[in-house]
Structure formats: C-alpha cells, structure tokens
C-alpha cells in the first residue's frame, strides 16, 4: 500500500481507468439499447403470432339451406330498380371444442378447445353459372358491408354490416345481402346441382366458401336401380294436388321462368325405385301424394295452384315390432295407430299418424290410418326388420288440415317445420334435420 502511495504514475492509471470504464459503459449502453429493440421486436412478433393463431382458428361454415330468397323485393340504391334480398345462414365453429357436432343440441362449447374467435365478414363474392344471377358479364358479384340499410334503403351489391360479425360459437347466423333484380335471381334454386359459389372473406384474410344449392350427399334412395336419385335421409315433405314449379320442365303451365330441368327427385310411378308419388290414396286431392324435399317446399308455396298444400313428414321406422324391444308397434286390425305408444317411446312427434307406406316387392302400398282413411283400407302385417314409412301430419287435427296454404299460419314452409320435430334418434338413422333431403343427381324432368 505504501508502495502504491509513493508511485508516481497515478495520473496515467486514473486516465486509463476512466477510458476503460467509459468503454465498458458504452458497451453496456449499446447492449441495453439492442435489448430494448429486441424486446420490442419480440413483442411485435408475439402479437402478430397471436393474430395468426386467431386467423387460422377461424372456421365459418354454411348452414342449411345456405341461401334463401326472401319473397319481397326491396328498393335499393346503386342500381335502377329493386333488389332481391337473400338470407345467408352461417355458423362460426372456429375454436370450438366439439365442432364435429355442429347442429347438435349439446356438446359444443366455445373456448374449451383453445378459444373461439369472432369472425368479421369483410366481403362476399358470388359467382354463378348460367344466364342469370352473378354470371358474366355482370358477375361475379362483389358485396361489401354497408350501413345504408339502417336508413331504410339498402345499397345493391352489399350486405348488412350489422350482420358482418359472427360471434364465436354462434350458429345459424343470418347475413342479409342485396342483389339487383335486374340480374335475375341466382340460378339453381331447387336444383340438385350447385349453381352458385359464395366466397366469404373475413377481415383476418381467410376465405370460406359454400355452394348453393347445397350439393346432395349420400347414395341412391331405395337402392335406386338407375342410380339417379340420392337418399340422404328420411325426412320428406308430401303435397297433394298439382302445382307449377318455377323450375319445372318445359311446358309447365303458368311457369314464368325459363325452361329448366326440375330436379326435385320425385320420380313418377309406383315402381320400387319410383316410389315417391303415391297414388290411389283416399282423402287427398287427386288421390295421390307426391313426396318432395323440404327445400323445394318454398317453391311450392309460391306456385301452388289449388290453393292448398299440405305438409306431411315422411319418416322411416327402422325397428318396427321388434321382438327384442319392449316398444311394440301396436297394430289394431285394419289400421296402424300410434295411440298405443306414449310420447317417450318410438315417436316423439306431435301429430296424427296419417298412414303408412310400405314398399313390398314391386308394389308400393299406401295405407291410411283408419280414422283418416276409413276402415276399408287393409294394412298388411308389419314384419320385423322391414322398412316402413309412416306419414305424419304434425300439429294438424286431421286429414287435410295441415298447413293450408295460402291462408294458413305464417311460417316457413320447409325446413323450419322439419327442424321443429323431435324424433327419438335411436329409432332412426342419422340426423333428422340434415338427413331429410332427397335429391337427384341428374336433372331429368319428372
């Protein structure tokens, strides 16, 4: 220590120390600055990464029936004339833990699978094939959100911006959009082949699409030998009398639409593969019932000619009279009735049994319930394992009083009624609601 005190190089050592210290502090400052920049960058990277996660969590699906054309046109700006109003039904299943059960009443929860995200629709594209709708040269139609509808006058080629946001886990969300009537209706309503593609662009940059009309799924009904029809389920709508469909084939009386094949898939006749028109039925107009798809009923309600259409539900009983089941199908002589069964057994359907339809060999028989058709109709024995088709008239007090049109209660004639059914799924194959469609793959005029 003493030696240090008597050294004569104190000044140089201090200066050297200051220089070293300065260099050290400068390096430290540089490190701090770089660290701050790196932190800011990492924070930004994390934020963008979260945005990407949200982006790829989005999942938007279209729900049946996809698009619905509202019956009333509205005045709109942007074009001369009026606009058709379409309702598009979508569900946000992004981030749901059990999205596979879409449509089910339970088991879907948002957030449990990593968090649902709301979806903001930024734009819709509609591209059509054919001569009307969003086809060239007018198409594709580009629809942006617009708030003008709030003032009462929407703008053509827009959709309501209040419909643009679909909450996480929200099902059956309706988006209203407006297309000018000058381009005609979107083609293909009521046909089996999709005619329109709708792209839904989200604000996060995802693009989802749907076809409309929905393409059929499944295989041929009744093992159709011709392979021209498709059975996707068990629900049917029956009408009696006649009507002129907008999309009926050439020569349809009263048709104001261009001739186009009508693909409702209801073959005429009584053969095993053409079982959808039942003839010789007592108590219905013309003595026949024609079974059609729920989605076509909208057209029927608009074009009905005999001022009355009746809605029947066409259901397929899988396990009638099963020996191993305590749920026996009661068969009084000459009639089939459900009155012997409680609501918690085979049927939970509110409605009177109208009759039963049994494909037997090459013959198709239709048998009414005795109170509806009289006791003269003989019902053949019901065999275990045989497929039967029971006709129900939901919420009607008797034959011929189901959902009269027009003049009946205001309701949506097709799927809304079907969706209100509650059937015991253990006795039916598949989902009642979504399996209720029958369509043809080819578009031959009936």
């Amino acid at each position: 220590m003493r030696k240090l005190w008597i050294r004569r190089k104190a000044v140089s050592s201090i200066i050297g120390g200051i220089i070293v210290l300065f260099l050290f502090l400068m390096a430290l400052t540089a490190m701090v600055i770089v660290s701050q920049q790196n932190d800011a960058y990492q924070s930004m990277a994390s934020k963008m990464s979260q945005k990407d996660i949200d982006r790829f969590t989005e999942n938007l699906i279209a729900d049946y029936p996809g698009l619905t054309l509202e019956p009333t046109n509205v005045s709109c700006t942007g074009v001369s004339g009026q606009c058709n109003v379409y309702d598009m039904t979508v569900s946000n299943v992004g981030g749901l833990s059990n999205a596979g059960n879409v449509g089910g009443s339970t088991g879907v929860s948002a957030g449990a699978g990593g968090g649902g995200v709301g979806i903001q629709l930024a734009r819709l594209y509609v591209n059509s094939t054919g001569s009307t709708g969003c086809s060239p040269p007018s198409g594709p139609c580009i629809l942006n959100p617009d708030s003008a509808w709030f003032s009462g006058t929407p703008t053509a080629y827009t959709f309501r911006d209040s419909d643009a946001f679909v909450n996480a886990g929200e099902f059956n969300h309706t988006v209203h959009f407006y297309l000018p009537t000058s381009i005609g209706p979107l083609p293909g309503a009521g046909t089996a082949t999709p005619k329109n593609t709708v792209w839904m662009v989200t604000a996060r940059g995802r693009v989802f699409s749907m076809q409309w009309p929905f393409p059929p799924a499944g295989i041929s009904q009744s093992g159709a030998a011709t392979g021209t029809s498709i059975n996707t389920g068990i629900m049917k709508i029956a009408y009696q009398g006649t009507y002129d469909s907008k999309h009926e084939g050439a020569g349809a009386s009263g048709s104001t639409y261009p001739n186009a094949p009508y693909c409702h898939g209801e073959p005429q006749g009584t053969g095993p593969d053409t079982a959808e028109t039942l003839t010789g039925i007592t108590g219905v107009t013309g003595g026949s019932l024609t079974f059609i798809n729920p989605w076509i009923t909208d057209m029927i309600t608009k074009e009905i000619k005999n001022s009355r259409a009746q809605l029947y539900i066409y259901a397929k009983i899988l396990y009638p009279n099963s020996a191993s089941s305590p749920l026996q199908f009661n068969q009084p002589s000459g009639a089939i009735g459900l009155e012997a069964l409680s609501g918690s057994q085979i049927w939970k359907l509110d409605g009177a049994l109208f009759g039963i339809y049994i494909p037997s060999g090459s013959n198709i028989g239709f048998y009414c319930e005795s109170s509806a058709c009289g006791s003269s109709v003989t019902v053949p024995p019901i065999q275990p394992g045989q497929n039967y088709y029971a006709l129900f008239c939901p919420s009607c007090s008797g034959l011929g009083y189901a959902f009269d049109w027009p003049g009946g209660p205001s309701f949506y004639f097709g799927y809304a009624s079907v969706s209100s059914l509650s059937l015991d799924s253990s006795y039916f194959s598949g989902s009642i609601l979504l399996d209720g469609l029958w369509e043809r793959t080819s578009c031959a005029a009936p």
């Binding site: 200066i15 050297g16 220089i19 390096a27 400052t29 920049q37 662009v201 996060r204 940059g205």
Partner: protein, 157 residues
C-alpha cells in the same frame, strides 16, 4: 568534463517525460474512445434499423383473396386485401412468373404499380390476358416493398 557530459543519460527531464507520456496516453485513449463510440453507435443504429424493418415487415399481412377469370373479356381479376397492421405498398405483380402490367383502367382501384394499400383495403387488379386458355393453371404473385409475397394459384375457368 566531456566524459561527464557523455555519461549523462537523461535526454529530457522527468517532468517533460511524464507530460509526454500523459499526452500520448490521452491521444490514444481519445482515438480508442472515438473508435469504440462509432462502432457501438453503428452497431446499435444498425440493430435498430434491422429491428424496425423486421417489425414492419412482420406486421404486413396481405392475401390474394380471389381471382376470377372472364373468358369472354379475356381478363383476370385479382383481389388483394391488406389484412395486416400497417399499410403496404404492392410493388410487383407476377402472373406465371412474368411481370404483368397490362392493367385495365377504369373503375378498378389499382391500375398501376407500385400502389399503396391501406389496412383492410382491397386492391383490385384487372389484367388483360390475351392468351387466355381455359383450363390452364395460373400462379399469381404479389410482392410488397418490404419483401413479403402473397401467392395464389387458380385454374382458368
């Protein structure tokens, strides 16, 4: 006397020698500090530039949300949406690897490049395509000024 002078070994006095040493040390120290300062400044400045540019590029998100082909008019409609957090500048558009700037004027939003696209805005390019061939596969690439790209492949209807 001469011998005594020759035996004298001190060229400068101790005081002068110390002052010389201090001056030399200070000079070298100043040079070192200046060099280190410039180096650290350059380092942190370059780092800042790097991170800022990277962050801006990272905030870019743009997608080609749709491509439509009009076989009658022989045009291709390309819709580019900025879904990121910052504005972007589209500087190049390639169709099948070749720059395609035959853009139609008119009501479309984007008729030339480079073009700026705001957040959530859509840029609509309408390209002439005289060699339109139905069924051909077309790859569209849009590049931004920050080096990001969006690619879309579509088959001509």
């Amino acid at each position: 006397m001469v011998r005594r002078k020759l035996k004298h070994s001190l060229a400068v006095s101790t005081l002068v020698a110390n002052m010389l040493m201090i001056a030399i040390t200070l000079s070298l120290g100043a040079i070192l500090v200046a060099w280190a300062g410039a180096s650290f400044g350059s380092f942190s400045g370059g780092s800042q530039l790097y991170y800022v540019q990277r962050a801006q590029a990272l905030q870019e998100r743009f997608v080609i949300e749709n491509v439509f082909f009009n076989s009658t008019a022989k045009t291709v409609m390309i819709f580019v949406r900025n879904v990121g957090s910052v504005d972007i500048t589209a500087v190049a558009l390639y169709v099948n690897g070749a720059p395609n700037l035959r853009m139609n004027p008119g009501s479309w939003l984007c008729t030339s490049l480079p073009t700026r696209i705001g957040v959530q805005a859509v840029c609509e390019f309408n390209l002439n395509w005289g060699d339109y061939t139905s069924g051909s596969v077309v790859s569209v690439l849009v590049a931004s000024s920050r080096g990001n790209q969006a690619v879309y492949t579509a088959r001509a209807s």
